[in-house]
């Protein structure tokens, strides 16, 4: 993610945006980029408005555009009532919403969000997913996450990586179809669970299909 956002330079390989090599010409993507890093950093003693003004200036917005956009985003993320309070007084969910607002401040055509729902409670996670889905209608959103339900709920294209290597790049439905016949479910009653040993249950699961496997 940090390579795609041009924060880090790759040791090998390159990244293209609209046919331009962004490793050679980072400004090609930076001007159209919104980024919510995994460990989203803020100046904790700044207010939400001040921090968004800071990001807007870095993204090259003029004052009038920035002010209008910040008002709009504070309303979208439901932070209007705390706009003049220091970010250090915010909860984790509120900070994350500041993160979304700053990522959208320049109305980017490419939005990159890295593990955005880590640390959020289930309700806030759902709300965040809804926001993400609603803004994804007219832009590319690159979402990196380990939380499968987030992918199910939001993604229409999934790239699966293992040790930095691309395993597959497909739609969620195709991905589920590809695993057909390889996923097993075995229901154990509470009484059975207490009576039988773990090894016994594992052997029953294995015997239920030729390629079944049990994770530790």
């Amino acid at each position: 993610m940090q390579i795609v956002t041009t924060v880090l330079k790759p040791t090998t390989g390159t990244v293209y945006w609209n046919g331009t090599d962004v490793v050679e010409t980072p400004s090609a993507v930076r001007d159209e980029l919104g980024y919510l890093p995994q460990s989203f950093g803020v100046y904790p003693d700044l207010t939400a408005t001040e921090f968004l003004e800071y990001v807007a200036a870095l993204r090259g917005l003029d004052r009038e555009t920035a002010d209008a956009r910040i008002d709009e985003l504070l309303a979208l993320t439901n932070l209007e009532h705390v706009r003049d309070e220091k970010i250090q007084t915010f909860s984790g969910g509120m900070r994350q919403r500041v993160g979304i607002a700053q990522a959208l401040v320049n109305d980017p055509s490419l939005l990159i969000v890295d593990e955005p729902t880590v640390g959020l409670d289930p309700e806030k996670r759902v709300r965040f997913r809804n926001v993400l889905s609603s803004i994804a209608s007219d832009r590319i959103v690159l979402l990196s996450t380990h939380i499968v339900p987030d992918i199910e709920a939001t993604a229409n294209s999934v790239a699966l990586l293992e040790d930095g290597e691309l395993v597959t790049h497909t739609g969620p439905e195709s991905l589920v179809e590809a695993t057909a016949g390889s996923v097993y479910e075995y229901l154990v009653s509470r009484a059975d669970l207490e009576r039988r040993s773990e090894t016994s249950i594992r052997s029953r699961v294995r015997s239920s299909g030729p390629t079944a496997s049990v994770s530790e």
């Binding site: 041009t6 400004s27 890093p37 460990s39 950093g41 904790p44 003693d45 800071y54 870095l58 003029d62």
Partner: protein, 200 residues
């Protein structure tokens, strides 16, 4: 918006964010209290500044009367000396703070150039120096009003404090940033830890 206006706006906001973040911490109150106390000690003569004359083979110490000029001069010299000796430690940590708070990662994904960030940081440093000198100057004005001779004129005291202290502060602000960004000139493919702001 034209490039120059974008750059100026970026410098202003980098400086403003850094300045607010620094000034709103409790640590700054301690620094300003120490500076004001030091200025007080110098002005009331506990820490004595004097002029040595050995021209007749005998060393004579001349200590000034607490006039407007003397108070302004001693406060200015105190400010300049403190900034020269301790300025680095007072001002250092600005870039480190960005790294600690992970704000640098965000900044690195924008179109802002390293030199723009550094100019903004320098302006913020100079702003902090101005606050330190202002505190020292106000303390000196009060000292003169209470202990000094003649009419108290804040302009002359503050003028002397800023005239002596500000150039030193500006220089130390620049040197501090220089020491924290010296690796920016030769950026490897994989930057060392903490060098995420370094971009050509």
């Amino acid at each position: 918006m034209d490039t120059e206006r974008v750059r100026v706006r970026r410098v202003f906001h980098v400086a403003r964010a850094d300045f607010y973040q620094r000034l709103r911490s409790r640590q700054v109150l301690v620094v300003l209290a120490v500076i004001a106390s030091l200025g007080y000690l110098v002005n009331v003569g506990t820490v004595e500044l004097f002029y040595l004359d050995s021209s007749n083979g005998e060393t004579v110490q001349y200590t000034g009367e607490p006039t407007l000029a003397y108070i302004g001069l001693t406060a200015g010299m105190t400010g300049a000396s403190v900034l020269l000796v301790l300025g680095y430690y007072l001002l250092a940590g600005s870039l480190e703070r960005d790294r600690t708070h992970d704000v640098d990662r965000l900044a690195a994904s924008t179109g802002v150039a390293t030199r723009t960030v550094l100019v903004g940081k320098w302006v913020s440093h100079v702003g902090y120096v101005a606050v330190v000198l202002g505190t020292l100057g106000v303390a000196a004005v009060i000292n003169h009003h209470v202990h000094g001779t003649g009419t108290t004129d804040p302009v002359w005291i503050l003028g002397a404090v800023f005239l002596l202290g500000l150039p030193v502060g500006c220089l130390v602000a620049g040197v501090t940033l220089l020491f924290h960004t010296d690796y920016c000139n030769d950026l490897p493919a994989q930057p060392p830890p903490g060098s995420r702001l370094c971009r050509k």
